[in-house]
Structures are given as structure tokens and as C-alpha cells.
């Protein structure tokens, strides 16, 4: 790197004929901006027409928004960071996009005139967040990493909700860059891990509300749910995660399917509704697989993993699978998509002792057989 970091640098500016020396990260470099808040493009009425002036009005708002975003990206390093830290209004503008823009799973296609503008705003917004997650923009423009971690956390430049929104919006098509951003944020500011844990318990609360609505909440609720967030141990958190799995997969989804069946014949179901339920199932399975792979299988991809590491991975795998095997719908789906035999074979190839896993395999086979899925399974890719 060249020169001092932003947080230690001082710059001079002229005011009323006098030179003033102020820190490079200072309110003097920011201005109180007025910003348009993002709203999604207008949707057509039932007859396919738009309310008069709706598209024009939206396009004008977006033109102003785009201009502001470009201005932000054009700002020199010290002005950009001063603006981000000392102008709360810009964050309301940025958040309005990540919170309110259409999600890919909503399947909403904007009007032809709006689509290029949506694309442009989408990209500019992401670039602003990329810039905010970068402590070293160039050799000369950098921030002390630990100070960067404090700046983004203390000023709420990123919080868990924003990170979740960014993941859903940019994950499918910008995964490598997004992963780099998130790694950077969590590495420089470990407090985000605590916030993430707290968020997990709030997600449980959200799901409890869904269960209440569906009338399926009378079954087991882990003790951890009622405990204050700060008292949650790692084991409590694991309980909550499993509760989510059990809650959504075992109770919420089947209950939704039942309710749909009660209301009309399967042949009359709206395809989009079914597609969305299937999307939830598929996403949960893929996410579960990604976590399991990351914790239990990926560590063994080293050229020659130590036997202790192999043992630890087998142990973790057994713990997770033995807890999940009781969730019949889930385990049937999961093991149909990712056959357990493939994983056991993988452990074996790496010198793992899989004797302890044989009862898991038997239990899984029993569930599959009960569900009529035991034979003819073809495995998907390992990861």
C-alpha cells in the first residue's frame, strides 16, 4: 500500500480564505443529500394497461436514483466514505432497493421500458455495496482493516438483514463476488457472528407465527426458543436450526399441501403456487447439503487429510444425520437427492471408519422403504 490509511489521513481544504486541515474521514467531506427511495416498477392492471403516467413517473424517479448512485461511485475515496458514514439518508435510499425490489422467485417480469432501468439500478446498487465492503480499493485508497470492521458495524453500513437481502438478490448470478464481500465483512468484524446467531432465533419466531397461522404449532417446541438470545449456547443454536428444519419441512410444507388439497383438486392447483412450494423444498435441501458438505466433506478434499480430521468429519456427519433421521419427510427427500451411500463411500476412500455410520444407513433405508423410495435411487453430484 502507498501512504496512510483513510482513518489516519488528514486533508486540507480552503474555507473563507484559510486552509483547514481535517481528517480524511470527516463530516466536512459529506453533504446532506436528498435521495429517491426505490419502488418496484409499476405492474399492469388486469387488462394489461398501465395507469396513465405510472411508467413515466417511475422512469423519472429512477433517472434521479441512477444519477445519485453514479455520483456516489464517482466520488473520491475519502468523500465516498465520509458520505457513507455521515449521511444516514443515503442508507435509507440503498435499503429501499434491497428491501423492496422484486425477488427472482416472485417471477415478476417488468414492462419492456422498465427492464433496462431495473438492470441498471440493480448493478449500480451492488457496486455501492461492493465498494462499502472493500477496505483496500487501490494501493493508495485503503482503510486499516480493524477500523474498517468498526466503521461498517458501528454505522450500520452492513447488518444481517442487509446481508440476507444482498444474498437473495445477488446470490444466484454474482455468487463469487458476494462470497468475497461477506467473507471480508465477517473477517474484519466478528461481531456479525453474534448478530447472525440472534437473527436465527428471530427466524424461529417468524416461523412460529407461520405455524400458528396453519394451526400446526402444538407439537414440540425446543426449550431454546424461549431463552433470551444472549443466553443461547452453540448447542441451543443447533437445536434452533434443527427446529427450523423440522418446522418447515415436516409440518409447514405438508400442511400447506393438505390445505391446498382440501380446497381443490390437484389438477386445479395454480402452477405457480406449487412451483413455489417445490422451490422451498429444493432450496432447503440444497442449503442443508451445502452446509453438510462444507463442514463434513469439503475439509477432506485436501490431498492427504490427517486421520484425526477424517475422524472429526465422520463424527460430525453422524451427529447431524442421526438428529435428522427422525424427520421422515426431510430425510426421505434429502437421501433421494443425495444418497447416503455416496457419502459413506467418500469417507471410506479417505480412510474413515464408517462402522459407526452403519446404523444411520439402516435407519435411512428404513425410512426410504417406508416411503416407497428405497430402490432405483440415482445420486446427484456430491456438492
Amino acid at each position: 500500500v502507498i501512504g496512510e490509511p483513510l482513518d489516519k489521513k488528514f486533508l486540507t481544504f480552503r474555507e473563507k480564505g484559510f486552509d483547514k486541515r481535517v481528517p480524511a474521514l470527516h463530516i466536512a467531506w459529506a453533504h446532506r443529500g436528498t435521495y429517491i427511495k426505490y419502488i418496484p416498477p409499476p405492474l399492469p392492471e388486469e387488462d394489461g394497461s398501465f395507469l396513465p403516467g405510472a411508467i413515466e413517473s417511475w422512469l423519472e424517479q429512477m433517472e434521479f436514483l441512477e444519477q445519485d448512485l453514479r455520483n456516489m461511485l464517482n466520488l473520491p475515496h475519502h468523500k465516498f466514505w465520509s458520505q457513507m458514514v455521515f449521511d444516514p439518508a443515503i442508507h435509507e435510499c440503498l435499503e429501499s432497493y434491497i428491501a423492496n425490489s422484486y425477488r427472482w422467485y416472485e417471477g415478476i417480469v417488468p414492462n419492456d421500458h422498465c427492464t433496462p432501468v431495473v438492470e441498471s439500478v440493480h448493478q449500480l446498487m451492488f457496486l455501492i455495496y461492493v465498494r462499502m465492503s472493500t477496505y483496500k480499493e487501490s494501493k493508495a485508497c485503503h482503510i486499516t482493516p480493524s477500523t474498517f470492521g468498526d466503521i461498517i458495524y458501528e454505522n450500520y453500513l452492513f447488518d444481517i438483514c442487509k446481508l440476507l437481502d444482498l444474498c437473495i438478490l445477488y446470490g444466484p448470478t454474482n455468487s463469487p463476488l458476494l462470497a468475497k464481500m461477506i467473507t471480508n465483512i465477517f473477517t474484519q468484524q466478528p461481531k456479525y457472528y453474534d448478530d447472525l446467531s440472534q437473527t436465527v432465533s428471530s427466524i424461529s419466531l417468524a416461523l412460529e407465527k407461520v405455524e400458528d397461522k396453519l394451526g400446526v404449532a402444538e407439537y414440540c417446541v425446543p426449550v431454546a426458543i424461549g431463552a433470551p438470545a444472549e443466553n443461547l449456547s452453540m448447542a441451543d443454536l443447533q437445536d434452533i436450526i434443527l427446529y427450523l428444519l423440522s418446522s418447515i419441512y415436516e409440518r409447514v410444507i405438508p400442511s400447506l399441501m393438505d390445505m391446498l388439497s382440501e380446497r381443490c383438486d390437484v389438477s386445479e392447483w395454480e402452477p405457480r403456487t406449487i412451483q413455489r412450494i417445490q422451490l422451498i423444498r429444493s432450496s432447503l435441501l440444497i442449503t442443508f447439503r451445502a452446509i453438510l458438505h462444507h463442514k463434513c466433506l469439503a475439509p477432506l478434499s485436501l490431498e492427504k487429510p490427517l486421520p484425526t480430521l477424517v475422524g472429526e468429519c465422520v463424527e460430525k456427519f453422524m451427529q447431524v444425520m442421526s438428529t435428522c433421521v427422525g424427520e421422515k419427510t426431510f430425510i426421505a427427500d434429502y437421501c433421494s437427492a443425495y444418497p447416503i451411500n455416496t457419502d459413506l463411500e467418500f469417507f471410506k476412500q479417505h480412510g474413515g471408519d464408517i462402522t459407526s455410520l452403519s446404523f444411520i444407513k439402516d435407519a435411512v433405508n428404513m425410512v426410504l422403504s417406508e416411503m416407497g423410495l428405497a430402490s432405483g435411487m440415482v445420486g446427484l453430484a456430491l456438492d
Partner: protein, 209 residues
């Protein structure tokens, strides 16, 4: 992190719920957002920017007249026509210059006004009668025919002062398009929940079986 303050948007989003309940987001944001007021400020900023960028009606008029003289043609009547349309669509003197500038700028390099341009004009000038737009467009096209479109485009390019010559952050970062539905697991591999009834919890109620 500080408690939030209970903002929940109307859309059914998990993060909206979390922003209200998880205490991991910024509190506040309660300042009233008046779109009309924000738009007024932004429009004023745009006018200022347009003036600072050098494209104003007096400058266009002056340069086009100069170009006409160079080509031995009198363009005054056409410029007057554009101004007349601007007078009709923008009765206030303050916005008339802007209207004339916009009509000229959007028409000088196009033989036909596209839908996008018409939208842009409506966006800035309101609901203008198509006939008036055609009138202004035709006048500008007559100018282009008389002095050559190439010269007119060059003239307009010279009038424009680039706003920012610095390299924008991220100019070299390739961003993927809007997300589409990612690849899902083949559904035929999963249980058909319309047929399978899973009894995942034990119960003593005989009727449940």
C-alpha cells in the same frame, strides 16, 4: 445493536420481519419521506446540472444560427418553431428554455422519435399533445437536413461538457444480470406430498391413523 423501531414494508419478506424484531438493524429512519418534495429538489438539481453542462437553449440557438450562416441557410424560422412549441408546453418562462433544449436534444439525431424518447419527453414535460411533439421534431429535422446531420451532431457534442471524467468505481467489475430462478433439484426425485401422508409425530388419538 440498537432496537429498530418497527418498520415493516408491505411486502411479505422475512427481512422485513427481522428488521422489526431482531434488533440487529439501525433504529430510526423515521424522517418523513415526501416524494413530491424530493422530486422538486431533484428536478431543480437536474436543471442546474443541465445549465452547468453547457447545453442551454441560448447556446443551441446561437451555435445553430452560426452553423446556418456557414452553410448559407437561414434557420431562424425553424428555431422559432421549436421555441413556439416549448412556449406551449411550458408556459412558465423558467422552464421554457429547458423544454426547448430537450425538444432539440432528443430530435437532432433521430429521424423518428422512439417510444423511449416520447416517454422521456412526457416524463419531463408532462402530457404533451403528440402533434406538438411532431411539430418540434419536424422543425429540428429540417435544420438537420439543411446543415447535415453530422455537423449538427458534432455541434451538440461540442456543447456538452462531460460531468465527470474520473473513472467510476467498479467500471472494471463485471456484474451478473438480474437473478433468475437457480437450478433446482429434480422434483421427480422427491416425495409426492399429495400422495404420501407422513405421520411424523406419535399420537394417542386413534382417529389420526
Amino acid at each position: 445493536m440498537a432496537p429498530h423501531g418497527g418498520r415493516v414494508t408491505g411486502l411479505p419478506r422475512l427481512t422485513s420481519f427481522l428488521r422489526s424484531h431482531a434488533n440487529v438493524s439501525r433504529s430510526g429512519g423515521d424522517e418523513e419521506y415526501d416524494l413530491a418534495q424530493v422530486l422538486a429538489i431533484k428536478r431543480e438539481e437536474r436543471n442546474k446540472r443541465m445549465k452547468e453542462n453547457g447545453i442551454t437553449w441560448p447556446r443551441i440557438k446561437d451555435q445553430v444560427e452560426h452553423l446556418g450562416k456557414h452553410n448559407n441557410v437561414n434557420l431562424e424560422c425553424y428555431l422559432r418553431e421549436v421555441w413556439e412549441v416549448a412556449r406551449q408546453v411550458a408556459p412558465e418562462l423558467d422552464t421554457r428554455d429547458e423544454a426547448a433544449t430537450l425538444l432539440f436534444t432528443l430530435s437532432h439525431d433521430r429521424s423518428v422519435l422512439t417510444v423511449k424518447q416520447r416517454l422521456k419527453l412526457r416524463q419531463m414535460l408532462g402530457d404533451v399533445k403528440p402533434l406538438l411533439l411532431e411539430r418540434a421534431h419536424k422543425a429540428v429535422r429540417n435544420i438537420a437536413d439543411l446543415v447535415s446531420e453530422e455537423d449538427l451532431v458534432e455541434l451538440m457534442n461540442n456543447l456538452h461538457i462531460p460531468e465527470n471524467t474520473s473513472t467510476m468505481f467498479g467500471a472494471n467489475i463485471k456484474i451478473g444480470p438480474l437473478a433468475q430462478t437457480p437450478e433446482l433439484l429434480p422434483m421427480d426425485k422427491l416425495l409426492d406430498l399429495t400422495k404420501v401422508k407422513v405421520v411424523s409425530q406419535a399420537t394417542l388419538n386413534y382417529d389420526d391413523y
